[in-house]
Amino acid sequence: MRHVAVVDLGYGDAGKGTVVDWLCATRPVHTVVRFNGGAQAAHNVVLRDGRHHTFAQFGAGTFHPGVRTHLSQHMVVDPLALAAEADHLATVGVPDALDRLTVDGDALLATPYHRAANRAREIARGADRHGSCGLGVGETVQYGLAHPGDAPRVADCHHPALLRRRLTTVRDRLTAELGPLEAPPVEDCLPAFTGFADRVAIVDGSWLAGALRTGTCVFEGAQGVLLDEWHGFHPYTTWSTTTFANVDSLLAEAGRPGDVTRIGVLRVVTTRHGHGPLVTEDPSLPFTDRHNATNPWQGRFRFGHFDAVAHRYALAAAGGVDGLALTHLDLAGPDLRICRRYDTTDRLTPGPPGDLDRQAAITARLLRSRPVYDEPPADWAEAVRAELGTPVVLTSHGPTADDKIPHGPLLAPPALVRSA
């Protein structure tokens, strides 16, 4: 059985959600597996009848009856936001999202203390904000790395005494470092976390191996490779591995290394929400994004021309893909151009993971670079294929699953029959 992994080769917002929704609409999918990030993800899915949901922790296939979501151990799980998201799903006709959810007990738990610390730090950065979403995801990862033995994890929600101890330690450590935090008392947090444990199936790593044996799973990435903790443009990155690395390790742990079709998602308009380099940014582009409003944590949503240099870099950093999904083709018009090189360079080369000085140097160089534009291509899919040397296997011409066109056999919908 061939599973599918969907990763964004930009700065996020390319349309992973709509691609995952389309995959689940066109074939039997057992489970959508989330493998990075946390509640800060915002994957928008719009149905033909106009219903809309911004998927944060639930998989973007949840509108399809029976499709499960699994939050793997690489996720930062936020039970508070999860409850609110489940409630919204109920209002748009999905009453059983929590029933179809499994969560790995080893996943880190985002707490109100992490969130408050994240906000305190980002405010302190003033004009040098990193573009954080203010939900404490990075803070949670950072804390987990610093204190692996006593960082709160999902399975702790079954053990109130242990959880109380760990929450108290988080609060005390972060308060000692940052001063008083705007967050509720530990006792008040406990009912929310224990309520989560009572309601949601918390499982161990073997659950995913079973799901991978049983049916097709779709691995849904969050954010984008250009924001990757090691390959993104430091310091405007996320505390998350946004490449296929986590997918590869989950499959290897389940004894199915390499059993996956890798799809890279690109948007014809290169966008970025939050601070950091966006070489092809052009405020004169006549676009707005109704799902990405200006917000106090990331500022306004930024639009740019198709940045082939940056996307080529992301493709190399991700280790290549089997096919590309190209979205927002309905936005391509005479105003939208393609950038194949900058004035300073035509190629960025990924370095080894962990060399943040090198990444900071790339960032400095990008902030000085000017884009060189070519005329708008007549055939965007062909232009992107030629520029990235990778086939475009899906194009998206609108927000719903009906607006997608598969090209070639790689993602062609199989017959909806599963024989033994």
Partner: protein
Amino acid sequence: MGSGIWSTDVYDAADRYRRSTGRSAFSYSDSGARTVHPALDPRDATRECRDSDEHPRSTPVAVLFDVTGSMGKVPRVLQSKLPQLLGLLQRQGYASDPQIMFGAIGDATCDRVPLQVGQFESDNRMDDDLGRIVLEGGGGGQMTESYELAMYFMARHTVTDSWDKRGRRGYLFIIGDELAYPQVKAREVAGLIGDDLSEDLPLRQVVDEVTRRWDTYYLLPAGSHYAGNATVLDFWRDLLGQNAVVLDDLDAVCETIALTIGLGEQAIDLDEGLRDLDRAGSGATGTVSKALARLGRGRRAEVSTLPAFRDTAGGVTRL
């Protein structure tokens, strides 16, 4: 990328989790699906129960239950109980390497999903098939459902190493409360399963075919519309003899199936099985002993007294 769209308030979240109780296990059905899930579609399908290195002597067990309206809450109770079956069989060692398949039966004359059949699985992945079953809740009101189609599928669209390599029959449990149609209709088979039959098959012929390879039981549970109706029980006794079994407490369904298999495999006699249940703290011994008394007698040389009924209130209720 996002910006914290969903509320992260602790008081709010605690309240939301409190309110969202009563999970539905029939998630596929309850989220509005009214067509067969692709994983359970009998069309052009063959279900296989194969040996493997891990499970060298597979024992096939199929459980198909009526999901029409006359069954009332029975399908939902079964859905919550049946996941325990595999663990029960494995722990008690009544059968070697059990592989279980779940399916559902409706009425081909008026239902949208008259037949749903899952895969044989040897781990808890079979629970997923239970979750994918569409509950009809309809039915024809003429005390008849399409059990004959299910038996036809089992007779002609299943392959088991147990039979092919060892000549051993598998176990088929049909749980329902109505009569089968007198004929397997060629038209329905063509539409639902995809076989081209030249003519309708009499029910008796299909029962003969299925019982050749499948040790077939009909369980008539309490709580269904026609429970206790002599017409239904007589109908199935006529077809399956003592293998038509009345089950007066649905909570005991897994134990009843497990002991039936244990008896069939000659791993236990009824007394031993009931003692096993009792030792494990099961509250089902009364129901099971009543349901299986005829089976147990049929297989044993001597008649034994049943162990005392044990009150397990507050204790463990499953093996």
